[in-house]
């Protein structure tokens, strides 16, 4: 199996890189949403407690 890999075409390598980038982008978007949700939950009503 490993013998056939190095002969991969440039197009295929670029396509795979693109799919990896998309996956990373989705992961980052999920992380942003998660951080937002955690922040809201952890701060809760305290958001409105202003001095």
């Amino acid at each position: 199996m490993s013998n056939s890999r190095p002969e991969m075409s440039d197009e295929e390598i670029i396509a795979r890189r693109r799919r990896r980038s998309i996956a990373l982008g989705i992961a980052l978007a999920v992380l942003v949403a998660l951080f937002y949700a955690i922040t809201i939950v952890r701060m809760g009503g305290n958001v409105f407690e202003r001095p």
């Binding site: 199996m1 490993s2 013998n3 890999r5 190095p6 991969m8 390598i13 795979r16 890189r17 799919r19 990896r20 996956a23 998660l34 949700a37 955690i38 939950v41 952890r42």
Partner: protein, 307 residues
């Protein structure tokens, strides 16, 4: 463009998204997620669903990260064993270094986010779990002693404690019992695998119990650990943490476990390997169902108004 590493040609940029996913050992991760979830749901105290989801995600990613670190370090062993030869690194789809970087980043993220979302006791336990699996087990014990999976089993046993700590912020007798059940389950589980994959481990030079102490000794030790496991699995009821649903399930599941384990004692050759495989498969269902029973005990009785 390609370059040489360990006599294997790896195509730069050949890794698929699936290969990165495979580094996380998704099948191990599923059991980790499940046991951590049970630990979290059993723990006393309020649990916000968003925080609970974040905690489980962190524990899953932390477990995945230790899987990636394991595959980084063990690429030489994985290449030799039929069960693991097609993993991303030994099959030549990915560089070792990429797995290392991936594993380190995910570890850092998982621990930091768990600490921020829940508390630092849980985060510290998760960090220790990753360290224990990647460094203590993978780098040290696995290659040096037949007790490798006995001690290393602690890494697989920590997740319910992490889940518990995510809610309560501490470690208690209940969560230690959850730990013990998985810890004691690990030796019979992996030695059953080692009994029918013995030649694989032999070829890779991993000192598993059957290769070092012999099949007979391994079968006896499987039986001993199984007896202790079943005894400990009944303790939650004795201490009053679980009711009759769990106790009944643990007794029945434990009896079947003992049947499979003790049955191995007087067998040899192909029949023994076949039975070892049966024990291995059963042990997976055993752990799943016993934790499910613990969960059912804690919730069903409340729903029915019986507790």
């Amino acid at each position: 463009m390609a370059y040489i590493e360990h006599n294997d040609t790896v195509a730069a940029g050949a890794a698929q998204v699936e290969d990165y996913f495979a580094l996380l050992k998704p099948r191990v991760m599923s059991l980790v997620v499940f046991t951590a979830l049970v630990g979290m749901l059993l723990a006393p105290g309020p649990l916000n669903p968003v925080i609970g989801f974040a905690a489980i995600l962190c524990i899953a990613v932390g477990a995945g990260a230790s899987g990636a670190l394991n595959m980084w370090f063990d690429a030489d062993i994985d290449r030799v064993m039929s069960r693991t030869a097609n993993r991303p690194i030994p099959s030549g789809r990915m560089h070792r270094g990429d797995a290392l970087v991936f594993g380190l980043w995910l570890s850092g993220f998982a621990v930091a986010v768990l600490g921020l979302a829940t508390n630092w006791v849980a985060a510290g336990l998760l960090a220790f779990t990753i360290f224990f699996y990647a460094v203590i087990y993978t780098m040290w014990l696995k290659r040096s002693t037949p007790q490798n999976i006995v001690i290393g089993g602690a890494a697989g046993a920590f997740p319910p404690m992490v889940g518990w700590a995510a809610v309560t912020g501490n470690v208690s007798l209940e969560s230690i019992l959850l730990f013990l059940i998985i810890f004691l389950w690990t030796p019979p589980h992996f030695w059953a695998l080692a009994l029918y994959k013995q030649s694989d481990y032999e070829a890779a030079g991993v000192p598993m119990m059957p290769n070092v102490a012999g099949e007979r000794s391994t079968r006896i030790q499987i039986a001993v650990y199984s007896v202790i496991l079943v005894a400990v699995s009944l303790l939650p009821g004795v201490f009053g943490f679980a009711g009759w649903i769990y106790e009944a399930a643990a007794a029945v599941l434990g009896a079947v476990f003992l049947y499979h384990a003790l049955r191995l004692l007087n067998l040899t050759g192909a029949e023994m390997r076949r039975r070892a495989r049966t024990l291995f498969t059963y042990s997976l269902s055993y752990l799943f169902v016993i934790f499910l029973a613990l969960l059912a005990d804690g919730t069903v009785l409340v729903w029915l108004g019986l507790s």
